[in-house]
């Protein structure tokens, strides 16, 4: 058996990169990376099962394929970093592969509707943006069924990729999704992670760079109601000089038992000189009761950076804002709508497709009870 790659010790980077399930212990809940997660609920994600693989439904672009997991075009170098992702990679039989040809320019978004095989599913998606290509990929996750797996976005040199991942699952659903992005030389990545529902959702985005000059942005908008749980645990791993990272996560919570966790780990390695990094998480509590944990971590192994900053804040719906708007004749429901739209605008305005951003906004508003229709 191949020995697992053991990374040099830092507090933030994964300790193990491996495709061997046995290289990862079953999480007990005391480990730093698992301390917020509902371990017991997720237990079936920690042992290999014979689940089906997530496929695609409906019409799709020729760039989108459903392939055998052994397809040699799938990334050979990417390694899982925890037990669920190692299990999903080992057990999945198929993968969804989106290949954006070198130098191709796609003016309209490539929409991929993911289709679950059954009640429990392994997910493996790869988006390969060829050098100098320009494209937008929209991944709509299925609303029913538990899912465990990974999405990879791999950008060639100077590729421009916008990738939108929308999870709006039923309350009974659990999803555990890694999202690994590797940015090529002078490439430009914009990832949008929109999570509007699900019982237990845990996303683990990782952003890293293969060569200097890359730019990566990850913008997240998430919404929790009732007693839903969401954890967004991200790692920006600056391994290359002169790259830029920008992370913004905005969460709105309502409901007695809603609990969100945002972990923003940014690691700037010794060789990553001249980088710029910024990360922000803001949470808006719309009612009494919900809990929002927010932990930014910045670890600098070099002092030679252009800028490095982070911010995190959780606040109540601001009565002063409502008062100001209402004092201008605006009814309370419209005022709430304006404030919530304003809260999410820096994320949702980045979605190029106005129909899509509009429908996401309406879904957010109807879930928050601001408007009573979809």
């Amino acid at each position: 058996m191949r020995a697992p790659t053991v990374a040099p010790a830092t507090d933030l980077a994964p300790r193990i990169y491996s495709r061997e399930i046995g290289d990862f212990d079953v999480p007990k809940g005391r480990e730093e990376e698992w301390r917020f997660a509902p371990i017991r609920k997720l237990s079936s994600f920690f042992e290999p099962e014979n689940w089906g693989s997530v496929g695609i439904s409906g019409e799709h672009d020729a760039t989108v394929e459903y392939v055998e997991i052994s397809d040699p075009r799938l990334s050979q170098s990417w390694m899982p970093t925890d037990r669920p992702s190692a299990i999903a990679r080992a057990q999945a039989t198929h993968a969804v592969l989106v290949t954006i040809a070198k130098e191709s320019v796609h003016s309209s978004p490539i929409v991929v509707n993911l289709k679950n095989a059954g009640e429990n599913n392994y997910l493996h998606v790869e988006v390969h943006a060829g050098p100098f290509s320009k494209s937008q990929v929209v991944l709509i996750h299925d609303t029913t069924g538990n899912v465990s797996g990974s999405m990879l976005s791999i950008l060639g040199d100077q590729a421009e990729l916008t990738m939108l991942s929308v999870i709006d699952a039923d309350t009974a659903v659990m999803q555990h999704v890694h999202w690994f992005t590797e940015v090529g030389r002078d490439a430009n990545f914009l990832g949008l992670s929109i999570t509007l529902g699900g019982g237990v959702i845990r996303t683990v985005p990782t952003l890293t760079y293969r060569a200097p000059g890359g730019k990566g942005q990850i913008l997240g908008a998430f919404l929790l109601t009732g007693d839903q749980f969401q954890e967004h645990r991200m790692l920006v791993d600056h391994t290359q000089p002169h790259c830029v990272s920008n992370v913004i996560y905005k969460g709105a919570l309502s409901g007695e038992g809603a609990h969100s966790v945002w972990i923003g780990d940014v690691l700037v390695r010794r060789e990553a000189v001249g980088i710029e990094t910024y990360e922000l998480n803001r949470n808006l509590l719309l009612t009494d009761g919900p809990r929002a944990d927010s932990v930014p971590n910045l670890e600098l192994e070099t002092g030679d950076v252009l800028s490095a900053g982070h911010a995190s804040a959780t606040g109540r719906f601001d009565d002063e804002q409502l008062f100001y708007l209402q004092s201008r004749g605006i009814p309370e429901s419209v005022a709430r709508q304006l404030v919530v739209r304003g809260f999410f605008v820096d994320v949702l305005s980045k979605i190029d497709d106005p129909d899509l951003s509009g429908s996401l906004m309406r879904r957010i508003e109807s879930k928050l009870g601001i408007i009573d229709h979809e």
Partner: protein, 253 residues
Amino acid sequence: MSRLTITDLHASVITEDGDTPILRGVSLVVESGTTNAIMGPNGSGKSTLAYVIAGHPKYTVTSGSIDLDGQDVLAMSVDERARAGLFLAMQYPVEIPGVSVSNFLRTSITALKGEAPKLRTWTKDMKEAMADLQMDPGFATRNVNEGFSGGEKKRHEILQLGLMQPKIAVLDETDSGLDVDALKIVSEGVNRFKESSDAGLLLITHYTRILRYIKPDVVHVFVDGRIVATGGPELADVLESDGYETYTAAARA
């Protein structure tokens, strides 16, 4: 012709440690076409009066009444009061992240008028109103009050005054934080509004400076939560030279 009648108004601020009485029997009438100044020392309750008229949820009215042309203002929600014709230019306007000035103004005008303004005339009206106050057209796309300087916030309040055309307007320390040039621009904005409409003004201020530009018909001295003296414009000059000392001493006695 409109009339705002405030009668023996008592109000408290709601805090975590209980309610603290601030207004202790305010009686006041503001009629169309008149400018009424309220002058008083820091902490005397001037902003509280303004907020209570507008319906801020932080305050509770313990007794007294506010009436606008026969309608019970205290029974109305904040937005109903605005639609009834009341306006408050705030001492500390609130920032609203992610909401642009133009979207905000348009939403407000739509709510006040009951229908959306015609896009073409609306854009033109807004541009002109901004130019009158020497506001850069770029303000329209900025977020409401976000990163505005003190003076820019006040211009934005007066911009709204002109566009919303209320019947009765309360201006809470619109002069504070303005240098002389900005004070002139803002005062001209208020005077243009006065001339173009028949509105009644309640001008709250700490200093007499603004009254050189906006001429009051009546001056009220406000101390310790109530009006302690009322007079003509000459009363402002007395306050300018003597300060509030005689009134505050009397209130303490």
